[in-house]
Symmetry: C2
Subunit: 347 residues, 2 copies
Amino acid sequence: MRLAVIPGDGIGPEVVSEALKVLKEVVPNAETTSYDLGASRWHSTGELLPESVLGELAEHDAILLGAVGDPSVPSGILERGLLLRLRFELDHHVNLRPGRLYPGVAGPLGDPGEIDMLVVREGTEGPYAGNGGLLRKDTEHEIATEVSLNTAFGIRRVVTDAFRRANERPRKHLTLVHKTNVLLHSGSLWSRIVEEVSLEYPEVSVAYSHIDAATIHMVTDPSRFDVIVTDNLFGDIITDLAAAVTGGIGLAASGNLDISGRNPSMFEPVHGSAPDIAGQNVADPTATVLSVSLLLDHLGEKEAARRIEASVAFDLATRDQASPGTTTAIGDRLAALVSSNTTRPAM
Amino acid sequence: MRLAVIPGDGIGPEVVSEALKVLKEVVPNAETTSYDLGASRWHSTGELLPESVLGELAEHDAILLGAVGDPSVPSGILERGLLLRLRFELDHHVNLRPGRLYPGVAGPLGDPGEIDMLVVREGTEGPYAGNGGLLRKDTEHEIATEVSLNTAFGIRRVVTDAFRRANERPRKHLTLVHKTNVLLHSGSLWSRIVEEVSLEYPEVSVAYSHIDAATIHMVTDPSRFDVIVTDNLFGDIITDLAAAVTGGIGLAASGNLDISGRNPSMFEPVHGSAPDIAGQNVADPTATVLSVSLLLDHLGEKEAARRIEASVAFDLATRDQASPGTTTAIGDRLAALVSSNTTRPAM
Ligand SMILES: CC(C)[C@H](C(=O)O)[C@@H](O)C(=O)O
Ligand SMILES: CC(C)[C@H](C(=O)O)[C@@H](O)C(=O)O
């Protein structure tokens, strides 16, 4: 197993190092190569993602990314030039984000019941296409456009993946989240494709929710959701909210998948680089550890993935919520749990 | 005071009738003319908003709308053909949505502290422009586009209004909500205009939040928000979430304002027509009553507006939250409170 690692900025290197500690317990012979990308490289060389590096990354089985971003870099540079560029170049069309409230974790909602959802967010089109521009800049007649690009090809592969996943889950329920009553064109395409693909999955029940109503349900009745499928922007929004109601982005993992397997998939915590707490050994590495679990699951190492997730679940249920420990302490705990939980070493 | 009333569909007529009951207590000589628009008119005549009706509506001082929408009408027809058409034709560029947690109201968040925010949502452009289309419909190569249109003119008038309102509030704080790191073009325009206008309001402190992070803050720390200014789509999303954390859309009021005064502004509850509970006298008319308070405030009847809001606040603090009473009972209570609270009859 050859992994490319992008520790990145802020707390990125700290949380990645703990996640690799845990990984080594289940896949001792995993080869990891670290790539220096992010704010400091941009500052020192002006480079964001050189072609040669992109080529090397593409040679790996998967990529683990900590976080990129720093207040010293103008907004949008690293996002578009590095993070989104990776997602787009490597055709990460399925952005997978589980939202599970683990026992012992207190979210902001009093007693929301069981929350166990999986958001399948489209990752390579929609309003993220970068299409648009400015006209008459810096005049009072300036106009800015943003063009959301949505293709049947791009939507179908994501919707199909979402149905496949829903079909494997106990509740077999799928909710399309969109704003079809206003975004008539893209809404029509998304709705029609969900309807079409649903015919292939007769056991999966299908619901629809406008994005605005979905945010209400997320705080008043999050248990209703099983699999959510949605576009890139609505997925960005609803997954941050889902993370918030399941204990915060300190626990939220994600995978950027190229389902075709042509390109390595990339796994990253949903949180950012949190420069305000960087270097203090206080960031919670749990989201990155859970991202490693998603990585292993994606690479077919189901047992190793399950073992990591079970260890995280155990730690969350038993940790002192008010002071869960330092970054390294949490990493040590999880590594120990994972190794004690060993049944067989994975490849 | 000449008001046009569009009771609309579902619970619309019920909640509007209670709101008018309350209105009559403070403005006994208000003239109201009812317009039959919505699902039933569309079914019987195919009409959504005839030009002649639009012309008549425009002759009024303000419009009160209950709710439009019915499952029997395909999604998008009434939204685009009636509700959004009214907002666009009457140039309702400021969509005003207060989000206040009234004492006595239990939201889904345990103990969120004081919540008292005001969202100024742009109402006439952005992704709501309706611009876009389908190419190669019903083939595997279909493409759907949605074009978000953003103008310096359109943004500046809304941002200026938001600063003006922030400047009048005790905290004098304004948060721009957008997604400037991804939507670079419109994000740049919004950011630059907020920066420009902020120079005219040196006492207003300015913050920025990405829409995804804003949804997190809305459930973990909603007290941080004072005035929020944002685009049409982000405003749609964040105001539903704000309503959810302040006790639900049963309490959320809104105003669609043409600040120039050239066209009548339109006031409506944030909730929809709720056909499942229509005709049962169980819908809470409070959001519509609060919308009447916004209407009166907008028309300069500050004292009458304040009196209605104070009555609602009193009722919310003292009502049996589990069974607040029927639609008419709540309306009767609020009307009685408002009349007992009379200091002088408003014009
Ligand atoms: C950093 C940003 C570009 C990114 C996104 O919008 O996708 C982030 O919010 C996320 O959800 O991974
Ligand atoms: C019904 C719909 C078109 C409308 C909107 O999206 O603006 C509603 O959600 C609202 O917020 O008033």
